[in-house]
Assembly symmetry: C2
Homo-oligomer: 405 residues x 2
């Protein structure tokens, strides 16, 4: 008799974005033609850069000829892309990363989830609170989370690191011993960025304790403040304690095109084993690489035209972030994020609950946000807005919120 | 202190195709300009059909405009593709499958590996011997395989089902109780096809014992013999005991384009849980869907032109299979497969070991094959050849083998 993975049954039923979608759908049903503006989900809206579509067209043409056809590619990604990533995202910025330390994949979400395969079930996981739910849910599935307490909203074996206004939304080193530490900066959902000094503390802690930092820098391209690290590998000592996840999703608009990468330095070892070699074995056994056409598209992101076009898209989204941030501040809300990040993290007025404020904005401003409580207990009392919308709609949404408050 | 997943350290070091590549590279180094012909790895060589590249071009154009841009798609695949699959691969063939039972993915290898996430570690796994190594290796990683015995080439907790000339390369129901049963028909590596009667025995066994059949039908398009099932769901009762994996890789030439799908009927439950719902949760948490451009390409496989073009490619490969099969038979070898399959399974002459015969063919015929022993103990004494090459090279390879023998 087959038994299922019983950890799946521990996952709470309702998922944040499904519940958001349900409430929006109920409202839209009751108020047809109400022109709802969605600043909830973090999905991009700008088209793929011309340099990317040109490269993809050319690759599709190649695939249609016997000479240019590409069958199975390397599971780790083509050398042309790994080399471009190593050069432009690391070496040109003075960071030592070799192409063989880069694993091209179909998404940072896949990698953040699948990375658990190479670690034992006994490891103690630490996450920020609030947090991107994938870090938690994948560890629940793998049996590392223990049991869920619906009263506290916490899992028994997880270390929660509160990110609150008191600590500027950057967590302190926990008192308990953590093994696998998920950090995401600039943060989803709070939009907070971490300084080199703050990251150094984490790297030192991880090296002293044999911990591994799982560093999600999917939003590094939004950093505008000088001196804020774009990569954990800017910090000395990170090569022996960190894995970095990056994505083309939010920079080049690849959310529907799917390309990302994970960096594992050769020096990173635990139990005498190379984590680079373990991940390589995992990927070769359970993955078959990213489509050739997509990898050619990602490569084009690093051409001079590609970089210019990506930069234009980023500037557009940064402009939206500024519109939201300044509009909400002018409306009297307490706001963080939105400077080095596409996410704006706003305190609800008058101590209102996240979901109550969400409902109020949906009902009175016809604007969809994301309730902070959905990201963890310390997210209660906040909402998240995203800068990935269309400019006009973003302005309109902020206007409506201001007139409601 | 982080601990790794210790199961990874149980995996034997050398991987079949790496060792093949190593020996070929050594030979090629010693014999430059020797015109080696590769019939070893099962990768396609024909270009993508015109209908597919036309659809991909159109989708790339859409992605380059604000109106046509697609961001995050459904993790399960777009409705347009799930509906086309359900209609053409199932409903038109009289098989009841709903689009909601289809999960589009980046590959059958990914799915065959990742499906283990939804099952508990205690399940007993049964595999054919010889077998596609991914079924085994992913279960080793998940801790279901026990320990490896290098003398027998077997894992202590795995049930091996020998597929030999005596049973026409289709396994008998094992005497031990099996929970998760991997079946692949037409088989990789033996090329054997299973009849409806044989599959019915498995379905009845699985339903009687609460087992789940993981049915890999990646090669169903190569079936030519009337009456041979293309899907496990042609068998009555399969909806309560089977999961099916399919791929566009070998039919439409998608090995470098990456699209596949997994079918989980709504009736399939274990421990009171729907496996469809569990897999949906797994995919939503650890996967972000297949590129829009690729899904549009896959959809085009089902257009009238797409079907004609795919059929032409299949006919080409089937012709190669016939060339190999008949050539080896004429050379006096005992041969199976190659009729309903792109794989030809040939017995080594004079009781020669797999690797010895592999070396002989490499050295004297300059033809790369795959040693059967690499697929499991019962593969010893065989080699596998694939029909995915270029016609002229395939003919030449067979000529060379004949003149050597």
């Amino acid at each position: 008799m087959v038994h299922i993975n019983s950890n799946f049954q521990k996952l709470p039923g309702s998922y944040l974005f499904s519940e958001v979608a349900r409430r929006v759908s109920v409202y839209a049903g009751a108020h047809p033609n109400s022109n709802i503006i969605r600043l909830g989900i973090g999905d991009v809206t700008r088209p793929l850069p011309d340099a990317v579509t040109a490269a993809m067209h050319q690759a599709v043409d190649e695939m249609g000829t016997a000479e240019g056809f590409h069958g199975y590619g390397p599971e780790q990604g083509y050398d042309f892309l790994r080399t471009a990533i190593a050069l432009h995202d690391y070496q040109e910025r003075g960071i030592t990363i070799d192409p063989s330390e880069i694993f091209v994949s179909d998404g940072a979400k896949s990698d953040c989830g699948n990375i658990g395969d190479i670690f034992g079930p006994e490891n103690i996981v630490a996450v920020c609170d609030p947090v991107y739910s994938v870090y938690l849910d994948t560890n629940v599935m793998a049996g590392r989370a223990g049991d869920y307490d619906p009263r506290t909203g916490k899992w028994s074996r997880i270390i929660y690191m509160p990110c609150t206004a008191e600590n500027d939304f950057t967590p302190a080193i926990p008192r308990e011993k953590a093994d696998l530490i998920y950090l995401c900066f600039p943060s989803n959902p709070t939009g907070a960025a971490a300084t080199a000094e703050q990251l150094r503390e984490w790297v030192d802690y991880a090296n002293a304790n044999g911990a591994v930092i799982l560093y999600d820098s999917a939003y590094e391209a939004f950093i505008t403040t000088p001196g804020i690290p774009h990569s954990i590998f800017e910090i000395e000592g990170a090569r022996t304690c960190a894995i970095e996840f990056r994505s083309f999703s939010k920079t080049a608009g690849f959310t529907g095109t799917r390309c990302a990468y994970t960096v594992i330095p050769k020096e990173l070892e635990r139990d005498g084993a190379s984590l680079n070699a373990l991940w390589n074995r995992r990927q070769c056994t359970k993955f078959n690489g990213v489509p050739y056409v997509v990898q050619r598209g990602a490569e084009a992101v690093y051409t001079p035209e590609g970089r210019r076009q990506v930069e234009a898209n980023l500037a557009y989204y940064r402009g939206n972030a500024q519109v939201i941030r300044e509009g909400l501040l002018a409306a009297g809300l307490t706001v963080s994020g939105g400077v080095d990040s596409p996410y704006i993290w706003a305190k609800t007025p008058g101590g209102l609950g996240s979901w109550k404020f969400f409902d109020l904005l949906l009902d009175q401003a016809r604007v969809v946000t994301t309730p902070g409580a959905g990201f963890g207990p310390s997210g209660e009392g906040y909402i998240r807005l995203t800068a990935f919308g269309e400019r006009g709609a973003t302005r309109e949404a902020v206007q409506r919120i201001r007139s409601v408050l």
